[in-house]
């Protein structure tokens, strides 16, 4: 059994000045641990005159006890793509990995479609200034829809284990016709796994690695993996495909699985050790978990109610 202690909400975007005309949302917090601070990237939203959103990456720097904000990004961290590009209409989220002194940013780019609201693909960007800004590797995506992964490829989380890069990500398996929620169609997506020697060319087998708990229409998102002793632990969020915004019990919760070989995963949400709050900012929804280590402690960042409109919080793993 994992044992987490919640430390509460640590960042509310509406209390700060953000760039790119962003005012609300700090979604999918993900870290780059630097020498003197923890840089937490998140996606915040610019509202276009049409009412549609553009998702921009921003960051906030915390000290190592997460009590003090040292800095907030004041300019564009990574620009959105140009006309027709896979990331023209937003990036949500960005996962950052430092490996062999190279800082990689794995973005999930959004572009708008006509028959459905959007399509997504995974892009690569690199930073040469400790993560202040990122330059795109190329104009196109490194992982996008393919023969058996027809759409909505996104939510990359990358680690380097056992001499290669591992990416956990999601892809869409279906758009549900006629099941519209708040004007957007419902879709179902699941977690998959890819490997790479260079972080650019990825080998995929399109297998779904995490069993469903609430049926075929379970949506699984944002996998995050950490190795503790000799076991790999994965957290992710999952929800029902419909009614997830307003209906009790159908919104995002955290799921948990473990593996000893990076291939076979055993799902066991009962052992996750973290649940919805009884009241407060994470009482209706928990989503977009991100697990990382600072010094000797393991932490989890996550969003709460309203998909992170009013920020994110933190939990710490108790040592058993």
């Amino acid at each position: 059994m994992m044992n987490w202690t919640k430390l509460g909400k640590i960042f509310d975007p509406t209390e700060h000045q953000l760039h790119n005309n962003c005012k609300q949302f700090a979604q999918s917090p993900q870290v780059l641990v630097l020498d003197k601070c923890v840089r937490i990237y998140f996606t915040t939203r610019e509202v276009e005159p049409t009412g549609k959103y553009l998702g921009h990456v921003a960051f906030v720097d915390f000290d190592f006890d997460f009590k003090n904000i040292l800095n907030i990004s004041s300019e564009t961290v990574i620009p959105l793509g140009g006309l027709g590009a896979f990331d023209q209409h937003g990036m949500f989220p960005m996962n950052v990995l430092k490996h062999n002194e190279i800082i990689y940013g794995f973005t999930s780019g959004l572009s708008r479609r006509k028959s459905v609201s959007l399509e997504t693909s995974i892009g690569l960007a690199l930073s040469e200034n400790n993560g202040l800004t990122f330059e795109k590797y190329k104009k196109g995506p490194i992982v996008s829809s393919s023969l058996h992964e027809p759409f909505l490829v996104c939510d990359a989380f990358v680690q380097h284990y056992e001499n290669q890069f591992h990416m956990w990500y999601i892809y869409g398996v279906k758009w549900i016709k006629g099941a519209e929620v708040d004007g957007t169609e419902s879709r179902v997506y699941k977690i998959a796994h890819a490997t790479s020697g260079n972080a650019i060319d990825w080998v995929r087998n399109s297998e779904l690695i995490i069993p469903d708990k609430i049926g075929d229409d379970e949506c699984q998102a944002l996998p995050t993996v950490i190795k503790i002793d000799n076991r790999y632990h994965m957290y992710f969020c999952y929800r029902h495909a419909t009614g997830f915004r307003n209906e009790t019990g159908r919104g995002y919760k955290l799921g948990y699985a473990y593996s000893d070989d990076l291939i076979n995963w055993t799902r066991n949400d009962e052992k996750s050790g973290i649940e919805l709050g009884e009241s407060g900012w994470d009482s209706e929804m928990m989503c977009y978990p991100h697990i990382f280590q600072v010094q000797d402690q393991v932490f989890m960042l996550y969003n709460g109610n309203e998909f992170g409109k009013f920020g994110f919080g933190l939990a710490v793993l108790e040592k058993n």
Binding site: G82, G84, F86, S111, S115, S145, L147, P150
Partner: protein, 320 residues
């Protein structure tokens, strides 16, 4: 210079009053499958525009008498491939189609069309298989077999599938940059190649293989490759996008290669041009070269990008 003798137009949709509604207009990008006493010609067709003035495209075929290619014996009873499911890459079009005999099956590579918000469309190449000589195809997967990649960010189209020396070669076109022409998004494509051992997993060469001839902004399409006399001969078509709407000029170009990778362009050898009058006096485009009973022919489309059908020319002499 090659010497092509135009034999005339084979098919004009308007001449066939009983054609199905979904084959109402156009006959684009023909390609052939030679059967016992029939030459089956696949091409792209369109029903009338929908209420919003937009087209979908299908692939279809007509059967020609092998001994008299001007005799249309039969039509496809329905589109050879359905449109893709909601949200897939080929929801609004499945053309052009290029086919290859692969053991007892016919493999069809096709361009799938989706509609976007900021630009009119995006295109990727899919794979479908037929077990009945191309009367109907089933998708191998719901997503594209040639996906978007870092150096080919969008609009990957116009596949021409070939097998030489037990290796699969795909010649196709890819777009690099959308730009605004009088406020309207336009794109220009260049010819590319990818290689595969199994027809499913592809390695892209990642560079333009045909040098520009008319202008650096020229668009290239329909890279049709034919082997004869120790050389690979490519006939394709090209035009200059900025002048196209005024001049309507699309012309056929030519290049040759001994290794399928390095190509020498020599349009002076092509030996076929627009006519002075008639159905192909403004443009000739989308060439397809094939051999039937020891004679080499070229199918090509005429004015308004095939709105009024395709015709045939016969090679006098040899491809040297």
């Amino acid at each position: 210079m090659f010497s092509w003798e135009k034999l005339g137009r084979i098919y004009n949709p308007q001449d066939f009053v009983n054609r199905p509604e979904w084959m109402d207009e156009f006959s684009q990008a023909p390609c052939t499958l030679i059967l016992n006493d029939t030459v089956r010609v696949f091409f792209g067709c369109r029903p009338k525009r929908d209420e919003n003035g937009q087209y979908v495209t299908y692939s279809t075929y007509i059967d020609l008498d092998r001994n008299d290619l001007f005799k249309v014996k039969a039509f496809a009873q329905k589109p050879v491939l359905s449109l893709g499911n909601k949200g897939t890459f080929d929801e609004f079009g499945t053309y052009p189609l290029s086919i290859l005999k692969n053991d007892n099956e016919i493999w069809g590579y096709y361009a799938g069309w989706t509609r976007c918000e900021s630009v009119p469309f995006n295109v990727a190449i899919g794979l479908a298989v037929s077990e009945n000589n191309g009367e109907s195809f089933e998708r191998m997967g719901e997503g594209p077999v040639i996906p978007y990649t870092p150096e080919e960010p969008f609009t990957i189209s116009g596949p021409k599938i070939r097998k030489f020396n037990d290796k699969f070669y795909m010649f196709y076109i890819a777009g690099k940059q959308w730009y605004l022409e009088n406020g309207k998004p336009e794109i220009s494509h260049k010819i590319r190649v990818a290689m595969s051992d199994d027809g499913i997993n592809w390695n892209k060469l990642n560079r333009d293989i045909i040098p520009n001839h008319w202008d650096k902004t020229e668009a290239q399409a329909s890279p049709d490759v034919f082997y004869a006399n120790g050389k690979y001969h490519m006939f394709f078509c090209g035009w200059i996008p900025s002048s196209f709407r005024k001049t309507k000029a699309r012309k056929i170009g030519y290049a040759y290669s001994t290794d399928l990778i390095n190509w020498v362009r020599d349009d002076s050898k092509v030996g076929i041009d627009i006519s002075e009058t008639g159905w192909d006096n403004e443009m000739i485009a989308y060439p397809h070269v094939f051999k039937l009973d020891d004679q080499i022919y070229m199918l090509y489309i005429g004015n308004e990008v095939g709105r009024y059908g395709f015709g045939i020319a016969k090679l006098r002499g040899d491809l040297l």
